[in-house]
């Protein structure tokens, strides 16, 4: 409700900035209230707002200590307890929803106060035990996270202090990233096929070289449609005799499968290949 703007400007962590000290804790009909009057006579709804700002009994105690510039390590329990009870009574009077934790703390304060009056028992290592020790530890522990929260609040935050860019790329379309597959994947897939088909258990046959299979696809692709292709054009002498043989085997294989046919229009004339059925 208050101080949002101030925080935006002062989001450094430095403790020396005195401006922050003057931040109001509440606004009453537009006027900032920076300090609670000692006599507590302030407009009831401002008081309500003020009392509601406490994050619990530890927070209220911290406020009481800080207000009087007291050191946490040296709190006068009797006085702080008296003030604390005043506030708790006020909250009850105003019928604020009083968390049970406030009453638990009140009981704890009363207990510490009474123990302060008694001679202190010695612990095993011969040290006197301060009845306030546990409370002081809790106060400090809470305070450090309260400060951490304030520091976090002042960090530049996306959407509040800093902004991400959202530039349109109207001509770009998302690339579909294709899965990567390796030869090993392919081989392992083929192994599975072979294993399932149990090819080897029934027939132990000579496999034709892959190169012939590949060449069969290439030739079939080349003779698509009605085109006649000269038989000799299928051979690339640069491939050497092995290449030529592979082509020949592929052609023969295709003829056997009736996938292509050979046409020779006259004896000893050029031989042509065409796809069957076209």
């Amino acid at each position: 409700m208050t101080g949002a703007e101030g925080q935006l400007e002062n989001r450094t962590l430095d403790a020396e900035n005195p401006r922050q000290q003057e931040m109001p804790f509440a606004f009453v009909e537009g006027s900032p209230v920076t300090e609670l009057p000692r006599d507590l006579y302030i407009p009831p709804h401002a008081l309500e707002v003020f009392l509601e700002t406490f994050e619990g009994p530890l927070d209220l105690l911290l406020y009481l200590i800080k207000r009087q510039n007291l050191d946490i390590l040296d709190i006068p329990i009797a006085e702080i307890t008296r003030q604390y009870m005043e506030y708790v009574d006020l909250m009850k009077e105003m019928r604020l929803e009083l968390a049970a934790e406030y009453l638990v703390m009140a009981a704890m304060l009363a207990e510490i106060k009474s123990r302060m009056l008694l001679p202190r028992p010695e612990s095993e290592d011969g040290e006197e035990q301060d009845p306030r020790a546990d409370l002081i530890r809790r106060l400090q522990e809470y305070e450090r996270y309260k400060q951490a929260a304030e520091a976090l609040e002042t960090l530049p935050r996306v959407g509040r202090d800093i902004f991400e860019t959202k530039v349109l790329a109207p001509y770009a379309h998302a690339v579909k990233v294709q899965p990567k597959v390796t030869v090993d994947d392919l081989i392992s897939a083929m192994r599975d096929v072979l294993a399932r088909a149990e090819m080897f258990s029934h027939h132990h046959v000579q496999m034709e070289p892959l190169s012939v299979r590949e060449r069969m696809s290439i030739i079939l692709g080349a003779v698509k449609g009605d085109q006649f292709i000269e038989f000799s054009a299928m051979f690339t002498p640069e491939e050497g005799r092995q290449g030529v043989v592979v082509t020949l085997l592929a052609v023969l294989e295709l003829i056997k499968d009736s996938l292509i046919e050979l046409v020779q229009s006259r004896p000893f004339g050029p031989i042509h290949i065409k796809a069957t059925g076209s």
Binding site: L168, V175, I187, L249, L259
Partner: protein, 226 residues
């Protein structure tokens, strides 16, 4: 506010808004601070911004709903990867289909199904065609004239192969079960061109079909095992 400052605020707004901004939208930015620029000043700043981005990746365009800083068309190619979906993983069925097409091409879908013992989903064939790893190389002249599939050059490129015969032969794959450590020996070994031993180029071409028929029948046996 200096013209430069004004320009920088407008630039920030155009980059962060996520929508085109009208002149009035731009002017409204300054209402809170009290230092509201004239329309002419804003227009000058926009003109300057436009030339600032010349030769760089963004361009200032005016569309129906206002001004927009957008990625130039020339840079769009690289942007595609920004929103790329996580690549899916290919199914076992797809890999087996691809393997069969590679090893037994040209092959029909029905023949693949015969070997695999299950039907091949049209999606698998479509995916492989779209990936341009396989292509239709012809049709088998049997009832229904089913398409014959074969692998492509891109398939070889994508798998880092110069030719199909760089893949291990089926016999070598079978041996892997016994001697897995031979895997790489098998991959690098040249395909068994030894089949062609004894034929010279001169002999090969003019030779009668009958000579080769015997050879062909070798593969015929294999065909029947499908």
């Amino acid at each position: 506010m200096s013209p430069d400052q004004l320009k920088h605020v407008i630039e920030a707004a155009l980059l962060a808004a996520g929508r085109p901004l009208q002149l009035d939208d731009v002017i409204a930015l300054f209402e809170e601070s009290g230092d509201v620029p004239q329309r002419g000043e804003v227009q000058d700043a926009l003109a300057e911004l436009s030339s600032d981005w010349e030769g760089r990746a963004l361009e200032l365009v005016e569309v129906s709903s206002g001004f927009r800083l957008q990625v130039r068309k020339e840079f769009s190619l690289w942007m595609g990867r920004l929103w790329a979906e996580r690549p899916p993983k290919y199914s076992r069925a797809l890999m087996e289909t691809l393997a069969l097409i590679a090893y037994r091409q040209p092959i029909t879908r029905g023949e693949i199904e015969d070997v695999r013992g299950v039907s091949v989903s049209p999606n698998i064939i479509r995916t492989l065609l779209e990936r341009e790893w396989i292509r239709v190389v012809g049709r088998r002249e049997v009832p229904g004239r089913p398409e014959l599939f074969g692998t492509t050059k891109l398939f070889l490129d994508d798998f880092g192969l110069k030719a199909l015969d760089e893949m291990p032969t089926l016999a070598e794959i079978r041996d892997l079960d016994q001697h897995p450590e031979d895997l790489f020996a098998g991959v690098s070994a040249p395909a068994p061109v030894s089949l062609a031993v004894g034929m010279s180029t001169e002999e090969a071409v003019p030779s009668t079909p009958h000579d080769e028929a015997g050879q062909a029948s070798v593969s015929k046996t294999e065909e029947t095992t499908d």
